[in-house]
């Protein structure tokens, strides 16, 4: 089998999440492929728009639920193109690629999910996996977003703000731009929603650093601040996991676009990652 060959998948549902992001639900045409497709939260696939190109995108649905879902932001030529697709159209999918989060190692511990903007997409996979399996102590979700209109999976977030505690899930939201909807949301959940950046959400939160793992995904600028906040609280670098982005063309460590590091350690984001610990970041220059 040619590893560059994608499987045909049909778009069975498209949901508009924000003005820039759409959620695509896909099912593989081949039944065997559909049934055999398993993955870990944090892994990604390559979407093949046949005749136009390929792009990597992380899986945003949990492995506990089928069919698979991809949250795609209109950001470049190909993503603009797929946004014109309709339900019933088909694309190619190959993968899953990357290492994913080692969640089996984290069972029984607290999960601190820190998401910024589109970083919510891969962490949503972890979030629902953790809720569905119930194998974790407590799930924290700290989500920083631009404005109310930019909240990804808004209905799910609001649902969790309301009923999260029942599911062992503690959700907090920070927004940057004040709009009437945000103020309304803040009034409703004064303890959980505030104006500010994602690190502001840590204020007043206590968690057992010896029994917690942090999982981070967001824009490049966010990592430094979030990691500092976590280290200050005493979380060890080996308990800080982050999922990173690069220009992955092949997904299997051949094309060289996602190579980072120096003469002593070089890593491929696509196959050595995209999930790395803070230890990796300390020993590999250019990772974050």
């Amino acid at each position: 089998m040619n590893p560059y060959q994608s499987y045909d998948a049909k778009i069975i549902e498209i949901r508009e999440l924000t003005s820039r992001e759409k959620l695509f639900t896909l099912r593989f045409t081949d039944r065997e492929v559909e049934e055999g497709f398993t993955f870990k939260p944090g892994q990604f696939v390559i979407v093949d728009l046949r005749g136009y190109g390929e792009f990597p995108i992380s899986l945003c649905s949990p492995p506990t639920r089928k069919p698979i879902q991809l949250c795609i932001r209109r950001a470049g030529r190909l993503t603009r193109f797929i946004h014109k697709f309709g339900e019933g159209d088909s694309v190619g999918i190959r993968g899953p690629y990357g290492n994913g989060f080692p969640l089996e190692k984290m069972e029984g511990a607290n999960l601190i999910l820190v998401a910024g903007g589109l970083g919510m997409a891969p962490l949503r996979s972890v979030l629902w996996y953790a809720i569905d399996t119930g194998k974790f102590e407590k799930i924290y979700l700290f989500y920083g977003t631009k404005s109310y209109e930019d909240i990804l999976f808004r209905d799910e977030i609001i649902y969790l703000l309301k009923h999260g505690e029942k599911l062992n899930c503690h959700v907090k939201l920070a927004y940057e731009v004040e709009t009437p909807s945000c103020i309304y949301l803040e009034k409703g959940f004064s303890e959980k929603v505030c104006k500010g950046v994602v690190t502001d959400l840590f204020r007043g939160e206590e968690f057992d650093v010896n029994n917690s793992y942090a999982l981070i995904c967001g824009p490049p600028v966010m990592y430094k601040f979030v990691i500092r906040e976590l280290l200050d609280r005493g979380l060890s670098p080996g308990r800080i996991y982050m999922t990173l982005e690069r220009r992955m063309k092949c997904g299997i460590g051949k094309c060289g676009h996602c190579v980072v590091g120096t003469s002593v350690s070089m890593k491929y984001i696509c196959k050595d990652g995209p999930v790395f610990t803070y230890w990796d970041a300390l020993s590999t220059r250019g990772l974050i």
Partner: protein
């Protein structure tokens, strides 16, 4: 390893016999440079060549490589399964292919590269270094494997090292062309190798190089050379171990498209660019330093990603010398 001798008068028949294996590509002089092209007659070959512009990687990772053809909404594999002979490959380029093997044959193997590797018959040839070569200091001046036959020049012919089963088969089937190696031949072989070892003018001090470079991340030397560098990417295109590629889909007819990959270079500003406009290596300094780090990455199981062929120096329009940059970075730190 098995050693046989090919006398000078049997060279041409040997070349003809190789045609059984497929098309033969060998070094041919074009103006002042050399290139690997298809050769029909032994007279066309320039076996005393220094280096070709593009290394033999162009036969395995092609500058433009068609992967799939889109027909009726489905991709069809494009296969090229022809056997061929690469005649007259230098030791450094054989080592270059071995480095590419690590990447392309690693799990999961690249099917295009793999089939070309399996279909290739590689005949190595001994060479004399010129002012750009520094392969000796990297240990890539002599190939112990990675070839089928290796020809070492003798005063009256060639000492042939047989490096693979396919090589054995060729020698077996053409027994009449080969003879046993004599003590005198071995003496000549040794003399040549000694003479060659003394001919190197340039060497790279690899002592602790990987660590030194890592420590010298903020060295001013990177900045100095990044300002001199034109960012053209020549060095990456001609490098036998550079293998970054870009993939693009092209419509060739109204209902037919091909997906092809082509050489990319980490010197191009788009190399680290992601959708949305963020660039992970925005400046020329970032990109320049990245290439040196990539080439000087020390893999405990394979060594450095550089084979010292000297192409990046010879074909650099800004006259930046690989060894010199690394030496200056080292000096700047110590």
């Amino acid at each position: 390893m098995r050693y046989v001798k090919l006398s000078a008068e049997n060279f041409s028949p040997f070349f003809e016999a190789l045609k059984e294996l497929g098309k033969i590509y060998g070094p041919v002089k074009r103006n002042s440079t050399y290139t690997f092209v298809q050769v029909d007659n032994v007279k066309e070959l320039s076996l005393d060549y220094t280096r070709t512009i593009l290394p033999p990687k162009k036969f395995f990772v092609k500058p433009r490589d068609k992967l799939f053809r889109l027909k009726k909404e489905n991709w069809e594999d494009i296969k090229d399964g022809e056997s061929f002979v690469l005649f007259g490959v230098h030791s450094c380029d054989i080592h270059g292919l071995k480095i590419l093997d690590k990447v392309y044959l690693g799990d999961p193997p690249d099917p295009y590269y793999k089939s070309r590797r399996e279909n290739a018959f590689i005949v190595g040839i001994s060479c004399m270094p010129d002012e750009y070569c520094f392969c000796k200091s990297l240990g890539t001046d002599f190939a112990m494997d990675g070839f089928d036959l290796f020809l070492h020049e003798l005063p009256d012919g060639w000492l042939v090292r047989v490096g693979s089963v396919k090589g054995h088969e060729v020698v077996w089937e053409n027994q009449e062309l080969f003879e046993e190696v004599t003590e005198e031949d071995l003496k000549h072989f040794k003399e040549f190798e000694e003479k060659r070892a003394k001919a190197f003018k340039r060497s790279l001090n690899k002592e602790g190089l990987a660590d030194i470079l890592d420590l010298a991340f903020n060295s001013q030397v990177w900045k100095k050379y990044a300002e001199k560098c034109l960012g053209c990417g020549n060095c990456t295109l001609v490098c036998p171990t550079c293998r970054c590629y870009e993939v693009c889909d092209n419509w060739i007819r109204a209902y037919e498209a091909v997906r092809e990959r082509r050489y990319d270079s980490c010197f191009m500003p788009t190399h680290g660019l992601v959708a949305g406009g963020h660039n992970f290596r925005p400046t020329r300094l970032d990109r320049f330093r990245h290439r040196y780090y990539c080439k000087s990455y020390f893999d405990p199981s394979a060594g450095f990603n550089c084979v010292g062929c000297g192409r990046c120096d010879e074909f650099c329009p800004a006259r930046i010398e690989h060894v010199r940059v690394l030496e200056e970075v080292r000096e700047g730190l110590l």
